[in-house]
């Protein structure tokens, strides 16, 4: 069983004027395999900082992040979909070769399969400079699955996609996460995205936020064992929507 444990995490930054900005303090969370956790909150609440800390791009000032699977997480078993997608591809490589560059072994077949699974319509031999934001976001989602990740972190992974593409990508994304038993933590602004893909929602209030206990009331199971047309689901969805909207305001 893969578990991601965050214990007493503190993230803080030094502002230019020398003041310290505490993003979160004494935050403890536990995520299990196959879970998709949506992080939801207003702009500037520290969602990206939290995500970057989880993938070790930022160092926490206190606390620790543990990956438990009877052993430490393997190297290269974390993947990341950044927010500013345009800057995350090298312009001197095609989209396919950008994905290929991440792996030691030949990934040709795997990229092709993922491309087909996600039903992406454009040719992956295209240069990233010739791609729109939405096209690159689709490629970034495929890239996130190339290493069969144990942990997948996404920062607004569907924000640049049109309604139809977003729906298709979300449903395949969810399927892959469940199949591979990945722990997926994604920040999402769009309530519809959030409700249609996440198992749990973690609402981040204003800074500094602290332990999960403070926000646990917002961690609501919304999707498991329910279908979109299911009345129970619809009721839960409506009540969650109201709760989140209230929190957001």
């Amino acid at each position: 069983m893969k578990i991601l444990l965050i214990e007493n995490l503190q993230i803080k930054y030094k502002k230019k004027e020398g003041k310290e900005l505490i993003i979160c303090d004494n935050l403890s969370l536990k995520f299990k395999e196959g879970e998709i956790i949506g992080i939801f909150g207003p702009n500037g609440s520290g969602k990206t900082s939290l995500l970057r800390t989880l993938i070790r791009l930022n160092k926490p000032s206190k606390g620790c992040i543990k990956y438990l699977n009877n052993r430490n997480i393997e190297k290269g078993k974390i993947s990341y979909i950044p927010q500013q997608i345009e800057n995350s591809f090298f312009s001197w490589l095609s989209v396919k070769k950008n994905i290929d560059y991440l792996k030691k072994d030949n990934t040709d077949e795997k990229i092709k399969n993922l491309w087909n699974d996600f039903e992406i319509e454009y040719d992956f031999r295209i240069n990233p400079l010739d791609c729109s934001g939405g096209m690159l976001q689709q490629a970034a989602i495929v890239r996130a699955f190339i290493n069969n990740p144990d942990i997948l972190i996404g920062d607004e992974p569907f924000s640049a996609l049109d309604v139809k593409t977003a729906g298709r990508m979300r449903s395949m994304f969810r399927k892959k996460i469940k199949q591979q038993g990945t722990i997926a933590i994604i920040s999402i602004h769009n309530l519809d995205d959030l409700l249609s893909i996440c198992d749990k929602v973690l609402f981040i209030p204003n800074k500094p936020y602290s332990s999960l206990e403070d926000t646990s009331i917002h961690q609501v199971e919304i999707y498991n064992n329910h279908y979109v047309n299911d009345r129970e689901f619809t009721n839960k969805e409506n009540s969650l929507r109201q709760t989140l909207e209230k929190l957001f305001n």
Partner: protein
């Protein structure tokens, strides 16, 4: 054979200048001590290939010296400038420590350093070379170090998240740096050529062959066609080297950052 008009549109400006040049010299719109005719100028260039022409009149021999000096000075600037530029770019502390000093030296006209170089290098060719280095090095360092900022940090971060081999990360960074290195190379080559010609105009090199010196003497002795031949040659030289560097740049598939 059909010629696409779009491919030869660049000829318009060139043809217009040639026509104006021809008309101005033929109809004496400008005094012929100030403006040689295109035919006279071409004749000087043609004579350069003729072995019966005295060495001093063979313009390509002058050009070869100027090109040699420019290339050596430029090459040194390119090598040292790229290494230091990368170092300054990646180590922010070094950049903060030296940026003002580099900007200060960049602002000094390199020709002012020439007398110092002449004395330091005993009037040898090295004096010309190091004057070029004095002018080009700060530009190269600043261009390359600023170019480090253009490296796509997010792409590099992705490589780190996926635990890609350090050698692959270094290679990616190096390729990301290429546009600024090429930009620096192109800017400094033109500058190297200018410094070389100006210093040669100030003092003729020991062997007596240099484009700058030839242009100066031609001007003093009213050999206007020779002067214009030098001018043409320098223009073509700068243009073709720039074109060559651009081609090499494209060969590497480098995206243009500043053009």
């Amino acid at each position: 054979m059909m010629i696409n008009r779009k491919n030869i549109i660049w000829l318009n400006g060139l043809i217009l200048v040639l026509i104006l040049w021809y008309l101005s010299s033929s109809f004496d719109w400008i005094d012929n001590t100030l403006l040689a005719s295109p035919m006279e100028t071409l004749d000087v260039i043609k004579k350069s290939f003729d072995s019966s022409t005295p060495v001093s009149g063979r313009i390509f021999l002058h050009a070869s010296y100027t090109i040699k000096i420019s290339l050596i000075g430029w090459g040194i600037s390119l090598l040292i400038g790229t290494i230091l530029g990368l170092l300054f770019g990646f180590v922010k502390y070094l950049m903060r420590s030296f940026e003002i000093t580099l900007e200060f030296f960049r602002a000094i006209p390199p020709i002012l350093a020439f007398p110092l170089m002449l004395v330091s290098f005993n009037y040898e060719d090295s004096a010309y070379v190091w004057t070029i280095v004095f002018g080009c090095l700060p530009i190269m360092i600043l261009t390359v170090s600023k170019g480090v900022e253009y490296i796509s940090n997010q792409s590099i971060e992705i490589l780190k998240v996926y635990s890609v081999k350090p050698t692959k990360i270094i290679m990616a960074k190096a390729i990301e740096m290429l546009p600024s290195i090429f930009l620096g190379a192109r800017v400094t080559f033109s500058f190297a050529l200018i410094i070389s010609v100006v210093t040669e105009m100030v003092l003729t090199p020991k062997n007596g062959l240099a484009l700058g010196a030839l242009a100066r003497d031609a001007e003093i002795n009213f050999q206007t066609p020779v002067f214009y031949a030098v001018l043409l040659l320098l223009g073509f030289l700068g243009f073709f080297i720039n074109l060559l560097l651009k081609r090499i740049e494209r060969l590497f598939g480098v995206k243009q950052l500043n053009s």
